[in-house]
Amino acid sequence: MSNTVSETPAAANPNPSQIQGVKLSGERAVPVIPRDIQTDELVFNMGPQHPSTHGVLRVVLRTDGEVVLEAQPLIGNLHRSCEKILENLTYVQGLPYVDRMDYLGALNMELGLVLSVEEAGGVEVPKRAQYLRVIMCELNRVISHLFASGQFGLDMGAFTPFLYMFREREEGLKLLNMVTGGRLLYHYIRYGGVTRDITPEWAKLCLAWCDRVLAHMPEYDNLLTWNNIFLNRSCGVAILDASTCMDFAVTGPCLRAAGVKRDLRKDMPYSSYEDFDFEVPVGPFEKGVVGDSWNRYRQRLMEIHESLKIIRQAIEGLPEGETQQKKISRAWKSPPGEAYVASEAPRGEISCYFVSDGGKFPYRCRMRGPSFQNIAVLELCSRGLLIGDLIALLGSIDITLGEVDR
């Protein structure tokens, strides 16, 4: 069983004419369809209630036995028209609604909206508040990545690593709960600052948690990352190369795993990210092909290391001062103007095109959901995969349906 990890890219073939005599991902390119056997195609309805679609995604599969010939994602089951809601509420009222977009990385969603509005309104954010935002968002990112990695393992049939990662995630959620008062949906970041300050005791707890996560990383690696079956299942499977990513505007860990060094925290620093010393890990990693499922999984684990580094630096270098710009009242409204600011959420780049006409309500908040853009590759990338590989693709892209449908 050793040495069967593929090194050759075979999937992600955009040319439908090559589907005949499908080449499977992995080095054993099996001619699945003997020409002299008449086979019928099956149409599967995968989702909206399917354990591996991570929510209410519906994918219509056209398959030949186990081989996916076509996968059409159909979205919109969770559409709540977040943008319309934002247009009908005052600035302060609207904020908690963006939390509901990506409920696994809610703080980063808040930051996405708040940064644009502050840019358009020219709001200065106190340095301490910027650092607090960084601490909380990175905590949220680690938690989200732990969830995504564990979920990917679960999709591959490995139950135990999932629960190990959940152990750390749960402690992280408790930390967030202590400061923000919410476990998943926080409403913590406000225009011009954050709601609550952290205490020195909390800082100690948080640093201890960072150490614990780091200490447990080898556990995940031993159980999952270097497991031979897992490597065989995910290396060289469902390759998303750099040009496909650019074409589909795929961002975040998926883009970086494809070897593109783009991280908005480094490239266009916001909220004082320029103060911190961290690396941007990019694929290819130790095994597999650049941009395959395993690399996307590995990318997230590597990013956890970097995020923990940032949290530690931010807590240690936390400046004194205000946590909230005093000029922002409940009835605050932005002066006329527009802005487009993007920030790095766990699943990719969240951005908001914000337009204000000076009125009580925002005129337009166009939110970019990174998962929305990322999941669009499914149609192209799934051709010729086995159903098991399709699950690997879905799990390694890591989508949140709340953000796809908004």
């Binding site: 599967f44 354990p51 490995a158 065989n232 299942r233 086995l386």
Partner: protein, 370 residues
């Protein structure tokens, strides 16, 4: 016509007489039928209960320990009655047969699976002379039952009228039929050495201390028997649909595979056989390679202090079976799942050649060394 009540006859004869009159048959046949029913109930109570309460409980508790959880601990002492509570829950749930299903097949499928999984226990030699039915073709009978179970699962997948179920049952067919080849071939290695297909006979040949067991037999046999044992173990995992070969019911791919549409006790009829099959395959592995009911010191062999003592044999039989069973559980909670093409690759390109080589090597060794 009523039979005359004779006070000298035992009560059972009265009942038989009465029933005979009721159905219009000779009393002796009814007597046999009732007797068979009583035995069947007894076997079910003796076998299904340990499987249900023991196997399922063990799996949950072990999974809990592996996963930083406690496992069941609320119902009964140490959560021992959790499975019973679940059984009651399953019994009281609504039995749904959806409109598109092929109802007769849908109803029949769980019984076939249940029966074929539990019927395997009949040939197991639990202690010296303790096989309920000492068939001369015991190992063949057992392998045939594994094949029979597949039919039940195909019926379930087909009659469910659900594409995911169909895919699951097709995976089951492909997998179990493929893995029966290495399973059957390596099972012949002990048969060649023992010269019998009866499981009791195979155990008796292994009488003596640990180096008489087939897997280590006289040192020299280990060359073929250790690979054969490993092939049998892996193929057994696949035949029992246990992780990492649980593709037919891969919950993250096929929702629940062939039993997606089953609810209530019909689902339970698929759930329990899985554990039964695991236990019986572990038992057969221990009989074929690990000396069955013999202890490692040879006390149960001819002339040993424990020769022919039934409880001594039972202890060793069950401890070996349980160790193999536990190893299956640990694998289940440690490994991810294979992909269908990898499952087939492993069977035809790895296990089958090894199995063939083992068979040929065993035959040669038998010629020259015995």
């Amino acid at each position: 016509m009523l039979a005359v009540v004779d006070h000298a006859t035992p009560l059972s004869a009265h009942i038989a007489n009465w029933l005979a009159a009721f159905v219009g048959l000779e009393p002796i046949w009814v007597f046999h039928a009732v007797g068979a029913l009583v035995v069947a109930t007894g076997v079910l109570a003796l076998v299904v209960t340990p499987v249900g309460l023991g196997g399922v409980y063990l799996e949950r508790k072990l999974a809990g320990r592996i996963q930083n959880r406690r496992g069941p601990n609320r119902v009964g002492p140490y959560g021992l009655l959790q499975t019973l509570a679940d059984g009651v829950k399953l019994l009281s749930k609504e039995d749904i047969i959806h409109r598109g299903a092929d109802a007769p097949l849908f109803r029949l499928a769980p019984y076939i699976v249940f029966l074929s999984a539990f019927a395997g226990f009949v040939v197991l030699p639990f202690w010296p002379g303790g096989a309920p039915a000492n068939l001369d073709v015991g190992i063949f009978y057992f392998l045939a039952l594994i094949g029979l179970e597949t039919i039940g699962i195909v019926m379930a997948g087909w009659s469910s009228n659900n594409k995911w179920s169909l895919l699951g049952s097709m995976r089951e067919v492909a997998q179990v039929i493929s893995y029966e080849l290495p399973l059957g071939i390596v099972a012949m290695c002990p048969v060649i050495v023992a010269g019998t297909m009866s499981l009791s006979g195979i155990t008796e040949v292994q009488a003596g201390p640990i180096w008489k067991w087939f897997v280590f037999r006289d040192g020299i046999w280990a060359i073929v028997m250790v690979p054969a044992f490993l092939v049998f173990y892996v193929s057994g995992l696949a035949a029992a649909k246990r992780a990492p070969f649980d593709l037919p019911e891969a919950e993250s791919e096929l929702i629940a595979g062939f039993h997606t549409e089953y609810s209530g006790m019909r689902f339970g009829m698929f759930f329990l056989p899985e554990y039964a099959l695991m236990l019986s395959i572990s038992a057969v592995t221990s009989v074929l390679f690990l000396g069955g009911y013999h202890d490692p010191l040879g006390m149960s062999a001819e002339g040993g202090s424990m020769h022919g003592v039934w409880w001594w044999g039972l202890i060793w039989f069950f401890s070996k079976t349980t160790i193999l069973f536990l190893s299956q559980l640990i694998l289940r909670w440690t490994l991810p799942r294979l992909r269908i093409d990898q499952v087939m690759y492993l069977c035809y390109k790895v296990l089958l050649p090894i199995a063939m080589a083992c068979l040929v090597a065993t035959a040669f060794l038998r010629l020259f060394f015995s």
